[in-house]
Structures are given as C-alpha cells and as structure tokens.
C-alpha cells in the first residue's frame, strides 16, 4: 500500500469520524448551551458596554472590544476543548480503541481536529452574525473578511496542536482546568480588556511572546476602522508580524505535538485504563 493510499484512508476515515463528532457536538444540548450561552453573555456585555467610548475615540466600547473577544473565544473554544477531548479519550478507552484497529490513530487525530475546528468556526460565525447585527462600529468588507478568514485559519493551525500538546500531558480529563488557568492570564494581558500600549513595557514584551495577543491583534485589524491602529503598539496593525508569530507557534506546536501524541498513544494500555 502506498503512502498516498494510507494518507487517503486516514483522511477519509478522519473526515467520517469528524463529521459524526461534529454532528454530536452540534446536537448535544450541553455543548450547545455552553457555546451559545457564552456567546449570548459576551454579546450582551459588549452591547451594554457599547454605550461608552474610550479616551475620546468615536468608536463605542462594544465595537472596540468585539474583535478581541472573538479572538479570545477562538482560543478558549479550541485549546481546552482539544485538550479535554484527548484527556477523555485516554480515560474512556477511545485512544486504546484507536490503537487496537488498523490505522486507528491517524483517523482519531484527524477526526478530533475536524470536529473542534468546525465547532470553533460555528462559534466564530455565530459571533460575527451578532457583530453585524449589534455593533455599528465594525468595518466589514470582502478584503477584511479575507483577513479575518486568514487570521482564523492560522489561529486554528496554531491552537489545535497547542491543545493537543497540553492534552497529551494531562492524565485525567478533570485536569483540563489547569489548561484554562494560563489561558485566562494570557487573555487578560492580550489587549482585549485594555489596549496593550497602556501596560508596562515588560508586560507588553511578555504578552507579545504568546499567540493570544497576536490572534486578538489580527481580529482587530480585520474588523476595526483604520484609525484604531493608533491605539496598538507602534501605532499600526503589524499584520505581517502577527501572521509570522502565529506561523512560528504553529510550527513549534506541530513539531511538539507529533512526538508527544505518539508518546501518549504508546503509553496507553488496558492496565492504564483499569487504573
């Protein structure tokens, strides 16, 4: 069997697995309530905040914060989710099942990547529709939607392996909270709640190391009026730099994810499952 055939089989089985997992996520009340509920809460908060403005800017606070919140939603909707899925796959025996069937691990990874990506995109599209309806300050055009799609795509390529790396290190699905803790800190210093330019220099440098800031920056560049770039570090969107940093993160996390996932699968056994 050629490598191309193996790849095709993995992809086809992964797509089938991903389609079923996505259907389950989109029809499971708990998952939907979590996604739509948090979406409704965020939009409500932003709508209420929308009455104010920031330091003389003509842009309402709701519109100003909306793209950053969208970026944060992408982060929180992917990293803990894929980490949780991997951790649960160890506890439930799904990973061992994947080991027990021919070419099971390939379709297992493709399937979960697809389901988490689709669910994240579902949330992003939902929020975008809310943005169109409720926030007049946002700028939409074909070119900007292209930027948005590009930022979303590279963010997913970066965040899903990051979640996989973290998930491969978790021994118990109940430990997913450990993943959320540093994410919350990074979101807090990513310029979502307050422009990064107003933070101390050391905190700015720290935030710039991580992908969360750059995802938020990319979202802002895609949806806010040009004039708002003045609030950002260096007074510009630095979109090229955002793509470059996210690409580096994607490469690093992908390189780390492959051996860590192999290690996770190798360590999985029936005895571990019984424990």
């Amino acid at each position: 069997m050629t490598a191309a055939t193996v790849f095709q089989n993995n992809l086809r089985n992964g797509l089938r697995r991903g389609a079923v997992e996505t259907r389950i996520m989109l029809t499971t009340p708990g998952d939907l309530v979590m996604a739509l509920g948090s979406l409704a809460i965020m939009v409500s908060v932003l709508t209420i905040a929308g009455n104010g403005t920031f330091e003389g800017s003509e842009l309402d606070l709701g519109s100003m914060n909306f793209p950053s919140v969208l970026g944060a939603t992408l982060v929180t909707g992917t990293v803990p989710m894929i980490a949780g899925k991997l951790a649960w796959s160890k506890a439930s025996g799904e990973l061992l099942r994947a080991k027990a069937i021919p070419r099971g691990l390939g379709s297992f990874l493709v399937g979960h990547t697809i389901s988490v990506s689709v669910f994240a995109l579902f949330t992003v599209v939902g929020m975008l529709l809310a943005g169109l309806l409720f926030f007049d300050g946002l700028v939409f055009s074909l070119g900007r939607l292209g930027i948005l799609a590009g930022v979303t795509a590279i963010s997913l390529v970066c965040l899903i392996p990051l979640g996989a790396v973290l998930g491969s290190l978790l021994s118990n699905p109940r430990h997913v909270g450990i993943v959320q803790l540093p994410l919350t800190v990074l979101i807090g210093i990513s310029g979502i709640f307050y422009p990064l330019a107003a933070y101390p220099a050391w905190l700015q440098s720290f935030a710039e190391v991580f992908p969360v800031y750059w995802i938020g920056l990319g979202m802002r560049a895609a949806m806010l009026p040009e004039g708002m770039a003045a609030v950002e570090l260096g007074g510009q969107w630095r979109l090229g730099q955002a793509f470059a940093v996210l690409a580096v993160w994607a490469a690093v996390t992908l390189l780390l994810a492959v051996p860590l996932l192999k290690r996770m699968a190798r360590k999985e056994s029936g005895a571990a499952l019984k424990d």
């Binding site: 069997m1 055939t5 089989n9 086809r12 089985n13 089938r16 697995r17 079923v20 389950i24 499971t28 796959s89 506890a91 439930s92 025996g93 799904e94 061992l96 099942r97 080991k99 027990a100 069937i101 021919p102 070419r103 099971g104 379709s107 999985e268 056994s269 029936g270 005895a271 499952l273 019984k274």
Partner: protein, 299 residues
C-alpha cells in the same frame, strides 16, 4: 495444527520488578485458552504484549507468525481486541460506530457487513441506538462486534463478562463459544470467573508471580494438582462422604466390601475453582506441585 501464539522465555521488568519471568506459551489455531491467575500475576501484561500494545524486556513472541512489537497494520487487521473497560464513543449510534470500524478494516481484506454482524451478536434492533443507552450486556456485545469486524483469526478477550448479570453472562459465553465453533476463531481470554473458564476454554493456563505454573485441560489440571472428587453414598441406611483422587477405584472398593450395596451414589468431580484455589493456596504456602515448574522453583 499451526500455532496462533507462540511465546518463549517472555520476560518483562519494570524497574526492579519482574512482572513476567520466562513465560512459555503455545496456543494452537482454533483453541480457546483461558489465562488465569491472581491479581498482579502478569495476565494483562502478557495480553498487552501479545496485542502489540507494549514492548517486552526479553523473550520471543510470535502472534499469527509475526512479532507484535514490529508487526504492521495488516497484522493488526488480523486480530481483534475486546478489553474489559470501554466507555468510548458513548454518543455515537451503534451502526455508525461499527461502520467507521468497517472502513478501517476494509482496505485490508474481508470484513463483516454491519447489519450481518449486529445480527450475529444479537443487536440487530440496536443499529440506530445511541451507545450510551445500551445495557451492560448489550455494550459488551457491541464491543465484541467491534473486535470481530475484521474477521479476526485471533481474538483477545480481557475479562469479557465482568460486571454482567447471570443471564447476560450466560448469553455472552454462548456467543463466544459459537464464534469459536462456527468461525474457528482462536480466542485468548483472561477471567477471574472460573466457571466461565471451565465452561469455555479448551485449555487453562495459570500464571502466578509472572510464571506459567500449570497448563492443560481442566481434567489434566485436576490430575496434576491432585484435586479430589467428592463421593457420597448410602450404606446400611447411613450417608457416607469421602474425598478421593481416584473416585472409580473408591466406588469399586466400597461395592466389593458391601457386596454391591451402595445406594444414592453421587460423585462430584473437583471443579476448576476447587483446583485453582488449592493451587494458589499451595503456591502461597511455598509448596511445589507442578511438573512444569522450573527446576529451581521445584527444588
């Protein structure tokens, strides 16, 4: 008959703990073999090495003619695995789960049609049911179906009927026996249910302390361990009970003594449970009992 499993000198060491210590095992194709032993005896480790789930420290292992440690995906498609604990794919429908497995096995050769397989395991009406609503017995049948999907030549069953109620357990055991009888699948199972082992297995292998202490049919094990049959009869209006390793000779002796007067005769041969418990007790007491034991332990 060719060997489905051939193991020689299998050793597994974790740190300074020797979990398996020179296990030799031969399973001819078409047999059902039960691997018994107390907790920590090395049953699961042995199974996982044979399934290709973990490596080994020493020894040679051949499963269906290949070393599981290096065997590829085609070899994987020739074996079926049913573990004790599965909670996966709980939100999937039974049919779509088995359909996905079918897609995995199909490139490697013949595999079951999903509807046919559901019929074989008695879940034909559950194709559209969500896995998590299946009863314990139905879930085990689905797990068995998953293990069978690729028409395996060798099926591993790890405590297959653990946690099932007596009716489900009996039905499951009958299904396993039927699969072996009708399809000729070689089965290696572990179990703590000695009635199940006695009922299903052609041969029993008892692992204690990482070594094969004894193996054979139930009758051979009884003989080897000197297990006694219980003989009860009425003589001169009184009930008598005696335990003997040679019940027929005992009966002959009583008949000769009483001139054939021996009524209400009952003979209960030693069960596998009696034999096994006696064996474990003797091992714990430090007694050597088996001709198969390594020399150094027999001394």
């Amino acid at each position: 008959m060719s060997a489905a499993v051939s193991v020689a000198g299998l050793t597994m060491v974790y740190g300074d703990k020797r979990v398996l210590d020179g296990v030799d095992l031969e399973i001819p194709a078409g047999e059902i073999v039960a691997l018994l032993g107390p907790n920590g005896a090395g049953k699961t480790t042995t199974m996982e090495i044979l399934e290709g789930f973990r490596g080994r420290s020493a020894g040679t292992v051949e499963v269906l003619g290949e070393d599981p440690q290096t065997a590829g995906e085609h070899w994987r498609s020739r074996i079926g695995v049913v573990l004790q604990h599965w909670e996966d794919h709980a939100n999937w429908r039974v049919g779509e789960f088995l359909g996905l497995l079918r897609d995995h096995y199909r490139p490697f050769g013949d595999c079951w049609d999903t509807a046919e397989l559901l019929d074989v395991v008695g879940l034909e009406s559950k194709k559209d049911s969500v896995v998590k609503v299946l009863s314990g017995g139905q879930r085990r049948r689905m797990d068995l179906a998953a293990g069978l999907m690729g028409h395996p030549e060798l099926l591993f069953l790890d405590e297959p009927s653990n946690g099932l109620d007596p009716v489900s357990r009996r039905a499951f055991q009958e299904l396993v026996a039927k699969l072996n009888r009708d399809l000729g699948i070689t089965i290696l199972m572990t179990t703590h249910d000695l009635h199940e082992a006695e009922r299903l297995a052609d041969r029993i292998v008892v692992l204690i302390g990482g070594r094969v202490h004894v193996e054979g049919t139930v009758a051979e094990l009884n003989e080897e361990t000197g297990a006694k049959a219980e003989v009860r009869w009425t003589e001169d209006g009184r009930r008598h009970v005696e335990f003997s390793t040679a019940p027929l000779e005992l009966i002959d002796a009583v008949r000769a003594r009483t001139g054939g007067e021996m009524t209400d005769l009952e003979v209960r041969r030693s069960s596998l449970e009696d034999t096994y418990l006696a064996m474990v007790a003797r091992v714990h007491a430090g007694a050597a009992f088996s001709a198969n034991e390594p020399e150094e332990e027999a001394r």
